[in-house]
Amino acid sequence: MNLRGYLKLAQSPFQMMLAYRTATFLRCLGVVLRVYLMRVFWTAVYGGGGAVEGIALPMMVTYATLSNVQGLITSSYVHWGVQRRVRDGSIVIELLRPYGFLRSLLAWSIGDSLLWGGLMAIFTLAASLLFVDLQLPASLAAGLAYLASLILATGVGFFLTVIVGLVAFWTLEITAFNMIFEFLSLFLSGGLIPLWFLPPWARRIAELLPFQSLAHLPLSIYIGKIEGAAIWIALLKQAAWIGVLSVVVWLIWKAAERKIIIQGG
């Protein structure tokens, strides 16, 4: 499968976005509403007070806004595709395709995230600027590092989602697993509540898990909570997680292959 093939695969989400204009619009609207609600919420909660854990209200609002908007980029839906293919058996064909199932998933996901997600994120952010006073990143370096961190976060999200999808080989129905997964990821990623506001025991758990790569790390870089050399460490952590998760995925994939070959699906 050559470059053109992969490009075509990456384009399909873009085309789908055009086809599902209304759904895309509604999704963006949903995010904008959530951003607004979060702005109102945090304003009320701060109640005119000063910084908490070193974060003042404007930065907190920025954090929450970016967290919601970047979710459009970092969230991946490949697990449903995997489940579907396992359920209808077409996964067997994928095993035979020369370019490898995972690589095609990745290509699709990148198109999905960067093009579709990116476009939606830009629109949503622009709309949010109407009522949110978005703070600039702590420094130019922080801003650039944020973007790099965001791309890495997308990678982590991709592999995590693939793992959820591969569970379909054993349970066929991943809805329950996915639910628990999303619930954990919501809180442990720092996307909903910044990790500094959580009780210490929760924070310790979050630091051990990959979820913090999804929101906490990139956002902390942006608002300057992580600075200087610590930025490199954070980026390395994300890259390391990508490495670890890709190995996990490879292991699960091999186990799944064995299962298909032995049991016939």
């Binding site: 209304t22 509604l26 949903g30 509403l33 959530r34 609600l37 109102v40 919420f41 304003t43 009320a44 909660v45 701060y46 109640g47 908490v52 129905e173 809805t175 329950a176 639910m179 628990i180 619930f183 919501l186 809180f187 909903l192 509540i193 506001f197 959580l198 009780p199």
Partner: protein, 289 residues
């Protein structure tokens, strides 16, 4: 050549299909059909448990969020952590009742789209009642169960003493809130008679009820306060009655009387929604969808 079109003729009250004298009949039918729905769902036990768990996770997300943030920040807009939790609980109780009893109202648009609605019109029973009880799904027990647990917890936290009148009022408030949510979804689904894609809008009601209604209205700007009180009155599901129970009627927005209006708002909104529903049926019969 053609006669006077008959679509302007008013519909008779036959549409209601039941009167006080046949309440016993109604209860028997309800019990039988809902039992059938439950039995039908139990055929797919795992699926049922999944749906209950999903509802729990959905509600728990907001709950944990509010709890964790307020554990750190202690209050918002003059409402303490426990008081905000109380607002959340009131809303969850009403929502739980709605889910347990009337959730099926959201299949209306599907029935209309697929032409299964005709069957409902051909039976000697109120079509709205049929839609709500046919294929009944008791998964709402999860929401209501969580609501009751929260109620127990918050009562202890706030050291609330429930006198009999207060409890009676609580039941009325929960019933009123349930009617509010039912009416909102009924209105959206009735739109399906005109716009087939109307079901997409349910998401809007859900956003208002699941998100905006969770907090004291004090935190919103004037426009939103207006909307949440007079347009999409989910404020009456949680915030307004909370001011009554927590003896904060001095702080109630607009007027303290609103703290006690929930049952009336529920009834009024339902009357509105039901008339709209009747219009929808008339339209269905006049244009053949």
């Amino acid at each position: 050549m053609t006669n006077e079109p008959m679509t302007n003729e008013p519909m008779t009250n036959d549409q209601l299909g039941f009167g006080i004298w046949s309440l016993g009949f109604l209860l028997r039918v309800l019990r039988l059909v809902m039992l059938a729905g439950i039995k039908s769902r139990m055929e797919y036990r795992l699926d049922f448990i999944l749906r209950v768990v999903m509802a729990l996770v959905w509600n728990l997300t907001s709950l944990v969020f509010i709890w964790a943030v307020l554990a750190r920040f202690r209050s918002m807009a003059g409402w303490s952590q426990e008081e905000v939790f109380f607002i959340y609980t009131l809303r969850l109780l009403a929502h739980g009742c709605y889910c347990l009893l009337f959730h099926n109202v959201q299949v209306v648009s599907r029935y209309v789209r697929w032409g299964d609605f005709d069957r409902m019109l051909l039976r000697p029973l109120n079509p709205l009642l049929q839609l709500v009880i046919w294929e009944y799904d008791p998964a709402g027990i999860g929401d209501l169960g969580l609501g009751l647990i929260c109620f127990g917890v918050v009562t202890r936290l706030l050291e609330l003493h429930w006198t009999l009148p207060a409890l009676v009022f609580l039941v009325l408030v929960v019933a009123g809130g349930c009617l509010i949510e039912l009416s909102l979804f009924l209105i959206i689904n009735t739109l399906a008679f005109w716009i087939t894609e109307a079901s997409r809008l349910t998401w809007i009601v859900i956003t208002f009820s699941d998100n905006f209604a969770l907090y004291p209205l004090d935190i919103y700007n004037a426009l939103l306060q207006f909307v949440l009180t007079f347009l999409v009155p989910v404020g009456f599901m949680s915030y307004y009655p909370a001011t009554a129970f927590l003896n904060r009627t001095g702080d109630t927005l607009f007027t303290p009387a609103f703290a006690y209006l929930t049952p009336l708002v529920g009834l009024a909104l339902f009357a509105l929604a039901y008339s709209f529903w009747q219009m929808g049926i008339n339209r269905y019969q006049s244009t053949g969808s």
